[in-house]
């Protein structure tokens, strides 16, 4: 099954990150590199991306066939999606195990969401 692992950021986590020493920051990034390599080796990784700052985001609205894009109302939102992993693995337990290796998990900012499949049992 596929699982989407969402990594959030909030004001505290952003502040914490900005206060880290260069070495601590390198350690955090290394944890990601190690995790990515391990997931590629097992064939479980489908894609992982980090998202740009929310101030660069656009909210899209279509009205009468016209699309308008505005700056998102994200500034007021406390928790924002900062990145994600899409993995394919045997069970949600395994997905949780993967999620626990993401540095943000130490702050409780990682969430595992099962992905809906197109295949199904005959009912």
């Amino acid at each position: 099954m596929k699982y989407l692992i969402l990594i959030y950021s909030n004001p505290e986590s952003r502040q914490l990150w900005s206060q880290l020493s260069a070495e601590q920051r390198r350690g955090g990034l290394e944890a990601y590199t190690t995790l990515n390599e391990a997931l590629a080796a097992t064939g479980e990784l489908i894609v992982t991306e980090a998202l740009a700052d929310p101030t660069t985001a656009r909210r899209v609205r279509v009205e009468a066939g016209q699309a308008t894009a505005t700056d998102g109302p994200f500034a007021e939102v406390k928790e924002l999606v900062a990145g994600f992993y899409l993995v394919e693995c045997d069970s949600i337990d395994r997905a949780v195990e993967i999620a626990a290796r993401i540095p943000e998990a130490a702050m409780g900012l990682v969430e595992v969401r099962p992905v809906m499949a197109l295949s199904g049992f005959e009912v």
């Binding site: 064939g43 479980e44 489908i46 394919e88 099962p114 809906m116 295949s119 199904g120 005959e122």
Partner: protein, 406 residues
């Protein structure tokens, strides 16, 4: 796609595992031979349409691939480990094994225990199934890069494990063949998608799994579980024309238009499972195939022999217990002895967390409540099941059951 291009494609896919088997047996290195084969296949797809299919296409592929292999070996050897490569070449023992064993050995190598299931699936589809990386990716609904990575890592891992290209000892063989069956069934279920979208260019993995299971059965005709697996696939696939509405919604077994079932597949599957049950030790795949056969032989839903299905589920509970088996057995019990009996058993089964937490629990509960006439409570169960399933078509179906006026 014109018919001769399609013919060549089928021919190449038939020959790919045979050629790979011959190459690995002769040259020894699975990963380098697989690369060489891919190059030979590319050469064939570019040359055959203009120059015509060679008289002996298999020999042509072996020659071209061997040439590529040796070219690469020379440049590699010039760079580094000439001695090691020479040792591998010397240890290869051409001619000692029949081509039949080659395909079986390939199956076992692709499902090597050091590989994860997704890698086993990808490598089997490529090396035995002869599918391209792009075709596998479309079938599995993952990006091509993911499949390419799974295949290359799997090849590295096989190389690192030092596995020789030969059939494992008899003691080891049974367990290895079981994992091949698991991989083939995984490919089959991956392919049983209810998506009715455009299927152009999409390889039907269920068809592919049947083709591979057929090959395995040809190599080991006396293995009852392999026959059972093939029968199970045929008997399940036979219902696929009636399983979905044109808009992609699931049609439950009891409401399917049975005239649309594939009669030839049912006949073949039933013959296979009947023979296996009479001649081989019983196993889980055979039991599941037997259950599918009982469903398939009923001309109308009300003709279904639920008592027989219940007996088969009783056996399956003993041989291969699990939440799905328990829940399906309870449905059979409800159909054979009435919903009250089913509901009572379901209440007892609930004590087991693996069953109470299984998303199918609520669906089965709703089904039995419906049968018992308690439609209001049934709808609540269906709504709960719809929230807990991980399948989109199932969710749509369960939501419709939760809404239905009755």
């Amino acid at each position: 796609m014109s018919s001769h291009v399609e013919f060549e494609r089928q021919l190449l896919r038939e020959l790919a595992p045979q050629v790979l088997g011959a190459l690995v047996r002769h040259h020894g290195s699975f990963d380098a031979c697989e690369d060489a084969l891919q190059e030979a296949l590319v050469a064939a797809t570019t040359q055959w349409p203009t120059q015509g299919v060679p008289t002996n296409p298999k020999a042509w592929l072996i020659t071209v691939a061997s040439r590529r292999f040796i070219d690469r070996y020379r440049s590699d050897a010039a760079r580094a480990d000439r001695e090691r490569a020479l040792a591998i070449l010397a240890s290869a023992d051409p001619g000692a094994v029949s081509p039949v064993d080659d395909t079986l050995t390939l199956f076992l190598m692709c499902c090597h225990p050091s590989l994860t299931p997704p890698s086993q699936v990808a490598l089997t589809l490529r090396a035995v199934g002869g599918l391209t990386t792009a075709e596998i990716a479309r079938g599995l609904l993952v990006p091509e890069a993911t499949v390419a990575q799974r295949i290359s890592r799997a090849k590295q891992r096989i190389k690192a494990s030092g596995t020789r290209f030969r059939l494992p000892d008899t003691a080891d063989r049974a367990a290895r063949i079981r994992s091949v069956m698991e991989v083939l069934y995984l490919i089959f279920t991956e392919g049983s998608t209810a998506s009715s979208g455009p299927t152009v260019n999409r390889v039907e993995l269920s068809t592919e799994a049947i083709r591979l299971a057929r090959q395995l059965h040809v190599h080991l005709p006396d293995d009852g579980e392999i026959a059972g697996l093939l029968a199970l696939m045929l008997l399940t696939e036979a219902r696929s024309p009636a399983r979905n509405t044109p808009s992609g919604d699931l049609v439950p077994l009891s409401e399917q238009d049975r005239t649309r079932w594939d009669a030839a597949a049912i006949t073949e599957g039933t013959a296979l499972i009947t023979h296996a049950l009479q001649t081989a030790p019983i196993g889980p795949y055979q039991l599941q195939a037997a259950i599918a056969a009982v469903h398939d032989e009923a001309g109308r839903p009300e003709d279904t022999d639920w008592s027989q299905i219940l007996v088969l589920y009783d056996l399956l509970t003993r041989l291969a217990p699990g939440p799905m088996v328990t829940l399906n057995r309870i449905v059979a019990l409800g159909m054979a002895h009435g919903p009250a009996a089913g509901l009572e058993e379901l209440r007892a089964a609930r004590a087991e967390p693996a069953i109470a937490e299984h998303y199918r629990f609520d669906a089965v509960h709703g089904y039995l409540l419906d049968l018992a006439g308690d439609h209001a409570a049934a709808k609540e169960c269906y709504a709960q099941a719809a929230r807990r399933t991980f399948s989109l078509p199932e969710q749509r179906y369960l939501q419709s059951r939760a809404r239905v006026d009755s």
